[in-house]
């Protein structure tokens, strides 16, 4: 029989025998791509230095990941795009003017200590890029808080340094911030386009939102974390952020600045380090928002997104452990058991 002759070549595997088209690589590279608009804006405003710093982060991240697996004699995962993404996000979270060893140390901490020692992609507890940045901020507090003025000239080697909008808000108050920017509209415009001082990738809200839209459409991220995060920040900023008493704050300034957009859409959503259960993600987002505002308004740092996400990373396993998805048929069971 003709058919029988082929029998021995049949592949046997467990069901299901068809699979969806998503792969880890595809997801990671798409996220990378969705950050492209923000990268372009950063190069536009901060000049070639932006490309240099970000590039250095990416190259060293991927390299560290590769070398680590080589050292352990295991298959490298350097090509799956996650190390690239970590590098990219780390770069986007650095000030433009850092010396070359800062990206290298940041990548080392992010990739080796935070990600690979914990078992690699999928096992890390903390957001690698953010730990990288926190480590750098604590280690080199001065270098990490020198903010160049965006010049929008492609060649800006020795830009003037200035303060970030949130830094101004915290140190000098809203009125001073208005003086610097002229009017509220100009401030919002600056924040939307990225024409303000800050980390490389966090300044242009529009570019980031374009990227976030791509991720939403592809369903790579859901609304739960970013929405609850941003909404919490907005409400708390409105309630407590004003200097004329309760409910006089300006939520938009807080939402558009200090890396909140970048953090809420691209970093708090990191699969590995946020809860998997969607309900848990809402709690995670609210926690991030609350801590962000606590730090911004009362704490020692002008911006709180990074620490808020890292602190909630600590709680993610606890959340995942306590919040279970609603199980099919579970309601009835409890009722019956009650009887």
């Amino acid at each position: 029989m003709a058919t029988q002759a082929k029998s021995h070549e049949l592949i046997v595997s467990v069901s299901p025998h068809v699979r969806g088209k998503e792969t880890v690589e595809r997801i990671m590279w798409t996220v990378n791509l969705s950050l492209l608009p923000a990268v372009i804006m950063s190069i536009y405003y901060f000049g070639p230095r932006a490309a240099y710093v970000t590039g250095l982060c990416i190259v060293s991240s991927v390299l560290f990941e590769h070398l680590y697996w080589r050292f352990l004699d295991r298959k490298t995962t350097a090509g799956d795009g996650s190390a690239f993404l970590t590098g990219l996000l780390l770069g986007m979270n650095l000030p433009p003017s850092v010396p070359f060893y800062i990206p290298l140390i940041g990548s080392l901490v992010a990739i080796i200590i935070t990600k690979l020692l914990f078992g690699g992609l999928g096992y890390n507890v903390f957001n690698p890029a953010l730990i990288g940045r926190a480590f750098l901020l604590i280690s080199f507090p001065k270098l990490m808080t020198i903010w160049s003025e965006p010049t929008a000239k492609f060649i800006a080697m020795d830009a003037k340094t200035t303060a970030t909008p949130l830094g101004l808000l915290k140190e000098e108050g809203l009125t001073h911030l208005m003086e610097v920017f002229g009017s509220k509209t100009e401030l919002y415009q600056g924040l939307l386009w990225g024409n303000t001082a800050g980390s490389l990738g966090e300044t242009s809200a529009i570019a980031l939102l374009i990227g976030a839209a791509i991720l939403f459409i592809k369903r790579y991220i859901t609304w739960h974390t970013p929405f609850s995060f941003i909404a919490t920040v907005g409400v708390l900023a409105w309630a407590f952020g004003g200097d004329q008493g309760l409910f006089t704050g300006d939520p938009l300034i807080h939402i558009l600045s200090g890396g909140l957009i970048l953090g809420a859409f691209f970093m708090a959503t990191d699969y590995v380090t946020c809860p998997t259960v969607r309900k848990g993600q809402i709690i995670f987002g609210i926690g991030c928002g609350a801590i962000t505002m606590l730090i911004r308004l009362k704490g020692g740092f002008p911006e709180g997104v990074m620490f808020a996400i890292l602190l909630m990373n600590c709680f993610a396993p606890l959340i995942d452990r306590s919040i279970k998805p609603k199980m099919f048929g579970a309601v009835k069971e409890t009722k019956e058991q009650a009887k």
Partner: protein, 208 residues
């Protein structure tokens, strides 16, 4: 805990390496981080521990035949607390600048599991001289661990050793801060395990 007689040198060596309080037994961990942000502090506390551990072992061993087993715990506590009080007072008097920084941790030596444990499992059952060697070994093991950790932390975190500037440039400030302490101990522990596994066929620290 093996009770066959060991030579005194073996006892000391065992305390220093085989049963190193911090890297092997993972007890008395607090000071390994709290006072290792500079070699001076690390060494001071280490020496205090060598003193207390040795003296406690010696005293308990001397008294071992007079202590009624029912009241052994309060007695051990008294002996330990006594020596800790003595070293505390001495340092408060004669080493004031260091005491200002690490005073609390000197007092806390009283709760070190390693000291109590050695008194219980070793000194109360062995001759004076062996007990002294055991205590001394354990203490020195602790001191060594403190020196190793504080060496890295001070060098990386301040670019200094014992307060003397060694490397210029921006140091890794985090290393002398809380987070850096944990990281340094964790990385060193992992490194020692790796060496142990790769070159001595060990299975790594017993851990907790």
């Amino acid at each position: 805990m093996s009770l066959q007689p060991k030579s005194n040198w073996e006892l000391i060596k065992n305390g220093m390496f085989g049963e190193n309080t911090i890297f092997r037994m993972a007890i008395s961990l607090c000071p390994s981080i709290a006072v290792t942000n500079g070699m001076k502090n690390g060494m001071a506390l280490g020496i205090a521990v060598v003193f207390v551990q040795t003296m406690v072992n010696a005293t308990i061993s001397l008294m071992r035949n007079f202590i009624h087993p029912k009241i052994r715990i309060p007695i051990f506590m008294l002996v330990i607390a006594g020596y800790v009080t003595i070293i505390d007072l001495l340092m408060a008097t004669y080493a004031r600048p260091i005491y200002k920084e690490i005073g609390l941790y000197i007092q806390i030596i009283v709760a070190f599991a390693s000291i109590f444990a050695r008194a219980e499992v070793f000194a109360s059952k062995n001759k004076v001289w062996s007990s002294i060697c055991d205590g001394f070994g354990m203490g020195v093991g602790f001191l060594l661990a403190m020196l190793v950790i504080s060496f890295f932390r001070e060098l990386l975190g301040k670019g200094e050793l014992f307060g003397y500037s060694i490397i210029a440039g921006n140091p890794l400030l985090i290393m002398i801060l809380p987070a850096g302490g944990f990281l340094a101990v964790g990385l060193l522990m992992g490194f020692f395990n790796w060496v142990d596994m790769k070159y001595f066929g060990g299975k790594g620290a017993s851990g907790v």
